[in-house]
């Protein structure tokens, strides 16, 4: 007998750590996404029922995979159409034991790449990744992305159907497609992270769960693709952001980097982020995530706002603009240039972006201008720009922040 609380904790831990692996293995064996999900759920239910009596198994992941596989065999045996799959399962079932989890690491990798196949619409990629790899419920995913649950359920059903009917292969793409496909996978993981990181209307615990899942999945990707630098770059970026999370708002008001309480930044996460970034950079194939992580590292390692290495950050933004051109990157570069070379140089760049009209509805354009004008002592112009930014700001925390700045002028 094991105490019920210990069992519940063990099952919860197994769910968090093994769900993706169990699902991935079952899909690999049966090719049937719904069957895989049903049988994995059955296996976790069986664990809750039998572990209190028999004790928590030595390798919970292997136990759950075997149980789920047996459940799949039973179901397929009842359905005549499953004969071919059944033969395949029977061959594998003759092994005395499922291979240990570490020996089939590519199952989860296959699952990530299949969920993020470019033939699937982008929102479906995100939803499917969260559902199959992270084991989030449809309701949780719907809440995080502000969609009604039935709509999200429909999206998941459609995505799974398309995988089957369009013949999307369940595999890690061959080497020549990898760079392009890896970018799609990293984009999905970063979107999941950002959804949890940015100020949103969801409850704090849902958002925290999303950043945690994104970091966990990216860690898996790093472990499974050691020679690729960009997964490490993305992991470093996430860790460095996560380290500052608790200081980003105070009583519902946005706190900018300059005013954040640096003593509350998580030093352990920063150290790990910097180390992960160094490993990525050592591979000498720079990508946009590595550059963004390098910028985040400059901020995270500066002892105070005044000693931030702005010239270095400006150089990094120039590199980022080359690798992944976007007007938002240009805007960030303008701020770095203002801090490194003086306000007039930065303002000139901001005015150039404004004149191009590419960021007309983006509140951070007038907010940035306002901030630079304030620093230059051009108070009246700064006020007008803050007003404009407040009109465009999408969240309450940002509107409150901008109102605060206005009052100070």
């Amino acid at each position: 007998m094991t105490a019920p609380d210990d069992v519940r904790t063990a099952v919860a831990a197994a769910y968090r750590d093994e769900w993706g692996q169990v699902i991935a293995t079952l899909i690999g064996l049966t090719g049937d996404w719904d069957l895989a999900e049903d049988c994995a759920q059955d296996a976790f239910a069986a664990a809750l029922a039998t572990w209190p009596r028999d004790g928590v198994p030595h390798r919970p992941g292997a136990w759950l995979t075997t149980t789920a596989r047996n459940r799949a065999t039973d179901r397929l045996r009842r359905a005549a159409a499953g004969a071919a799959k059944l033969r395949q399962l029977a061959v594998l079932a003759r092994d005395p034991d499922v291979p240990p989890i570490e020996e089939i690491p590519d199952e989860r990798l296959r699952l990530i790449f299949t969920c993020c196949h470019p033939a699937l619409p982008f929102p479906a990629r995100v939803a499917l990744t969260l559902r199959t790899l992270a084991g989030l419920t449809t309701a949780e995913i719907a809440r995080a992305f502000l969609t009604a649950e039935p709509a999200m359920a429909k999206r998941l059903v459609r995505a799974k159907r398309k995988i089957q009917e369009a013949g999307i292969p369940y595999r890690v793409p061959p080497a020549e497609l990898l760079p392009q496909r890896l970018a799609a996978v990293l984009a999905v993981l970063y979107l999941i992270f950002n959804e949890g990181y940015s100020e949103g209307p969801d409850e704090e615990d849902v958002r925290r769960a999303l950043t945690a899942e994104a970091i966990r999945l990216t860690r898996i990707l790093v472990r499974l693709m050691p020679p690729e630098p960009e997964p490490r770059g993305l992991l470093a970026l996430m860790l460095l952001h996560e380290a500052r999370r608790t200081t980003r708002t105070e009583d519902g008001v946005l706190v900018t980097l300059e005013y954040q309480d640096r003593s509350r930044w998580d030093r352990t996460l920063i150290a790990e982020g910097v180390e992960t970034l160094d490993q990525a950079l050592a591979m000498r194939r720079t990508g946009p995530y590595q550059v963004q992580a390098a910028i985040a590292a400059c901020h995270a390692t500066a002892p105070d706002a005044a000693s931030t290495d702005w010239p270095q950050i400006a150089t990094l933004y120039t590199e980022l603009a080359r690798l992944a051109p976007s007007p938002v990157v240009d805007l960030n570069r303008a701020v770095a240039v203002a801090m490194a070379d003086g306000i007039p140089a930065g303002l000139a760049l901001v005015d150039e972006i404004a004149a191009s009209g590419r960021l007309d509805d983006y509140h951070l354009l007038p907010a940035t201008r306002a901030d630079l004008l304030r620093r230059a002592g051009r108070t009246a112009e700064a006020k007008a720009a803050y007003e404009q930014a407040r009109k465009l700001a999408p969240t309450e925390a940002e509107r409150r922040y901008l109102s605060g700045r206005l009052r100070e002028l």
Binding site: H117, A119, G167, I168, P169
Partner: protein, 111 residues
């Protein structure tokens, strides 16, 4: 799996069959299909001005000129292929010359 490739463009660029056959990209594409043993059927279609659309509404047959909807790209040819999966179909479609200025839509055959 069986897929139909719908070879689409906006018909502004209409090479003759001879020009198409002489295009090195088209030749490479044909060679690729041959090597994979993937092609089942392939036909080029006459342009949309030669098209006729048939619809039956309330038992009445309506015949009209041209395509039934305004679209930017029109189907200019179809190729039916048999290959392992969508990734192989994508690889094949990417080699078609029209992919460079029009588009190639891949549709799995309902089997």
């Amino acid at each position: 799996m069986k897929y139909v490739l719908l070879i689409c463009d906006d018909e502004t660029n209409q090479p003759t069959n001879e020009e198409l056959a002489a295009d090195p990209v088209h030749q490479a594409w044909e060679a690729d299909l041959e090597r994979r043993g993937a092609e089942l059927v392939g036909e080029r279609l006459r342009p949309v001005v030669d098209a006729t659309t048939v619809r039956v509404r309330d038992g009445e047959t309506l015949v009209s000129d041209g395509p039934f909807a305004e679209t930017k790209d029109f189907v200019g040819g179809i190729v039916i292929i048999e290959c392992a999966n969508l990734d192989e179909a994508i690889a094949i479609a990417a080699g078609h010359p029209y992919a460079r200025w029009g588009g190639v839509e891949i549709r799995p055959v309902w089997e």
